[in-house]
Amino acid sequence: MSAPPAITVTDLVKVYGSRTVVDHVSMEVAPGEIVGFLGPNGSGKTTTIRMMCGLLTPDGGSGKVLGHDILRAQRAIKREVGYMTQRFSFYEDLTIEENLRFVAGVYGLEKGAVAQALADLGLTSRKHQLAGALSGGWKQRLALAACIMHRPKLLMLDEPTAGVDPKARRDFWDEIHERAAEGLTVLVSTHYMDEAERCHRINYISYGRLISHGTVAEVVAHAGLTTVILRGGDIVAAQKRLRGQPGVDQVAPYGTDLHVIGANGAALRRAAEAVAAETGARLIPAETGLEDVFIQLMGAAQDNMS
């Protein structure tokens, strides 16, 4: 891709008191990409996003968003970026239409914009309803509509699907993909693994540090984990025996299966075979999932911190 990147930031740092919330995070997002931003709660995702959309001033580092300097051209960034906050942050005591009209006025949009957005949302008939009376899914759709009303080139979504039902989540992602196909660049933070897998690329952040990035396959491959499944037999006993064995990093029951994951493949298999024989379980080799990789990364990051 030869087009200039939508986001390039290098060594972003944000410090609150003695706590370094974002610690030298660098990231690049190409235009038209959907990039996932993953990490546990309190890992610095929101802070990083806020620094990139001009809501927070970084304590260190530099970067450009849509060609504008994040330290100096915050107003230009605000005009061209759509930012959807984690919490619904439109006015609950205004109607749907009033909220959209407010946004249209602030961005100086032409008269038809509100009616168009209402039609796109399918909310024309309910435009006089208070935004606070909407369900979680509808609030999220309203927020998204309001964020893209001024046709931003870059959309930043901070955990957009928290508290939204699966059907609404599916629709939401379909919409995001449609917009990306039209050229919109999207950076989306999330906890959900299935959502991460719908992104072109992902960045994983933990304790303020960017730990892994790339496509889902790359991230999984890069982690170099081995996974085996123990099926049948005495799962509870097997789980107890496997915990703390050399080579075993994670033991997680899934129904009647037990997923056993570790970085040292040979040691993991030795331990798993021994336990499987004792508890009468079958041993099945398996693919490592993204979630397993993240849990592994989280544990590793924690060890580095202490």
């Binding site: 809501l55 605000k78 906050t85 006015y91 609950e92 006025g105 602030v106």
Partner: protein, 378 residues
């Protein structure tokens, strides 16, 4: 479209604030309810020059001088002898229980002394636990007693000579000859009501956004600090205008407060005062993190304002340090202006000083507010 102030954006914010104000029924009711309630309380209930206070008389009924005193005292309007001719012990008990505000004691040899030309003594015990009760009643007493006794005893040469030596003090109660409390209170209330509601409402302006989490969204949009400030405070000018209308109408129709000055000049003063207030409230809202804190800041400011501005207590009666604090409050200057214009018919040159000082407050608060407004969440 200017870089710092776009009217389209400004109107969008004003429209949004206006709708939110209208939807918040209780707050909206407060904006009109508070002035009405204060008008009612201060206008009808409070009187700093109370009259017809209950009094007891300790004297012997046969004494004609005592009877003369009683009628003279009652004529002043301050005393109402609910318990005439009681014993000293009864009088003591009555004032202790608070059933009377005064006990007037004439000694048994009172009449005899008057006739002999000795100077008799009258003891007036006032319940001064509330000084305001006692002051007016006591101040009228000295000359009154003398006159009453002179009339009763006949004009003897000696007393005449005594009276001639006395300095004849002529007191003119100007602008309010009858000393009606409302004349002072009601114009002052205009300032107090505006002070309370304007500052409180605008102090919520930003904290409400912060508390509801909408601040993040507002800041992520291309709005400038001056647009946010003006958008948030301008709707309250309309509220202030309604309050001014209510108070001035009530002053005229309910309390009959004279309005001798220029209405235009008064409104100019009100406009500048309201400007200073709404911007001050906005400063509070940049300081406070929650609406609760904003409320507390408002009250922190409101209390000295009503105490030290000359609204409740005479400004010149305060110690110098308190007067200095009073000078630093916008309400003090507004009260001078409103009383001068309404009661004394002052012109522009007479009230130039408060006008200029109020303008200074408005500009200083604006500068402070704009420097305090954070365009980021840092």
């Amino acid at each position: 479209m200017s870089r710092f102030l776009s009217f389209r954006r400004l109107f969008s914010i004003i429209a949004k604030e206006a709708v939110q104000m209208r939807r918040d029924r209780i707050t909206f009711a407060m904006m009109l309810g508070v002035p009405l309630m204060q008008l009612f309380l201060f206008g009808f209930a409070i009187n700093s020059d109370p009259k017809g206070l209950p009094a007891a008389l300790v004297a012997t009924p046969e004494d004609r001088f005592a009877r003369a005193m009683v009628s003279a005292l009652e004529v002043t309007g301050y005393y109402r002898f609910t318990h005439p001719y009681v014993s000293a012990a009864e009088g003591e008990a009555l004032i202790t229980r608070g059933e009377v505000s005064f006990v007037v004691t004439l000694p048994t040899d009172f009449g005899a002394k008057v006739l002999r030309g000795d100077s008799p003594q009258i003891l007036i015990e006032a319940d001064a636990s509330d000084p305001a009760v006692a002051s007016g009643a006591i101040s009228t007493l000295g000359t009154l007693a003398r006159q009453a006794l002179t009339r009763e005893a006949g004009t003897e040469a000696e007393t005449q000579a005594q009276q001639a030596r006395q300095v004849d003090v002529v007191v003119h109660r100007r602008y309010n000859p009858e000393g009606i409390t409302q004349y002072n209170i009601v114009p002052g209330l205009l300032g107090v009501i505006l002070q309370m509601t304007m500052v409180m409402m605008t102090a919520m302006a930003l904290t409400r956004e912060t508390e509801r989490g909408t601040m993040e969204n507002l800041l992520s949009m291309p709005v400038t600090p001056i647009e946010v400030m003006l958008g948030k405070v301008l709707p309250y000018f309309v509220v202030g205008a309604v309050q001014v209308l209510v108070v001035l109408t009530a002053a005229k129709l309910l309390f009959g407060v004279p309005f001798v000055g220029s209405l235009g000049l008064l409104l100019l003063g009100v406009l500048i005062f309201v400007m200073a207030l709404v911007v001050l409230g906005y400063v509070f809202s940049t300081l406070a993190r929650t609406q609760m804190q904003a409320m507390q800041l408002t009250f922190f400011f409101f209390l000295p304002s009503i105490m030290l501005s000359g609204f409740m207590f005479p400004f010149r009666g305060m110690p110098t340090w308190a007067q200095w604090i009073g000078e630093a409050l916008p309400l003090t200057h507004f009260l001078r202006l409103v009383r001068a214009v309404m009661l004394k018919g002052a012109g522009v040159t007479d009230v130039a000083q408060p006008l200029i000082i109020l303008t200074g407050f408005a500009l200083a608060f604006s500068a402070l507010a704009l420097s305090r407004f954070r365009q980021t969440l840092d």
